[in-house]
Symmetry: C2
Subunit: 157 residues, 2 copies
């Protein structure tokens, strides 16, 4: 997996866009839609994976189908702003499967988390037992999601 400073031509971009929308397209379909031969398409797609332009392909599961109907955003402020403090917090967050996103931000919070759980009761449990117990957490602010207007849409390119 490369960092890849190489370039993407029109055809590569088309392949990326198509696979971003329909990750299980067959190579044959893909080739037809981008108007190249199957062999060419195959080689290009392989390169896109090998050089790290495509980092993975994932099925999107309906959250409610697997008992994860509640989405919560949480702002976190740490006690101290030392590198160790941040590293420790991040390590702890990486181990929490309920945390889907975690971003270090500039602004009123140190981190913003996106968390999926079964319901509010579940979140309260998580909050009390794990979130406020995370290393160096001074304060959290919880934003319950009342309506998901957009969730993880395609990259605009």
């Amino acid at each position: 997996m490369e960092v890849s400073s190489a370039t993407l031509d029109r055809i590569d971009l088309k392949i990326l866009r198509l696979l971003q929308s329909e990750g299980r397209l067959t190579n044959a379909e893909l080739a037809q839609r981008v108007s190249v031969s199957a062999a060419t398409c195959h080689r290009r797609t392989q390169r896109l994976f090998e050089e790290g332009f495509i980092t993975g392909v994932r099925a999107e599961i309906a959250p409610t189908a697997v008992g994860l109907g509640a989405l919560v955003m949480v702002g976190v402020v740490l006690d101290r702003s030392t590198p160790e403090s941040f590293a420790e917090f991040e390590a702890a967050v990486l181990a929490m499967k309920e945390v889907l996103d975690c971003n270090l931000v500039a602004g009123d919070f140190d981190y913003l988390l996106k968390i999926r759980v079964r319901d509010m009761a579940d979140f309260n449990k998580l909050h009390g037992a794990k979130l406020i117990a995370l290393p160096g957490v001074r304060q959290t602010r919880t934003f319950f999601v009342m309506k998901e207007v957009k969730d993880n849409t395609r990259l605009p390119f």
Copy 2:
């Protein structure tokens, strides 16, 4: 695509988990890993798609590869809290391709947005030209992401 109140057994869950991690697994591979015949696996997987348990399969593109290196979270407060006001805002946001996530939340903001753009300059342009110009926006609070610790990880089930 069903709302599907049907149940998922152990095998279905295994299939979901595998496809969530590796969306391009062949049916043959999948069948082997869940220890059923290819025919059965195929039928079950098809059902998971048809009944809406799997809402799609998407290739994940490295954001930097397509010139979207900057991630920004934005909290939005609307002028008025009328249904029309919310609907209008949501419609406008749905049309903005840079907005990856948009959630109506309870708390200090009305909405929390996740936005991907090329760089800070691009965001400032977007902010000035489109965000604060969105219908009914009273105030926005910007959180530049300095480090992506976790991004859109798998659902924990």
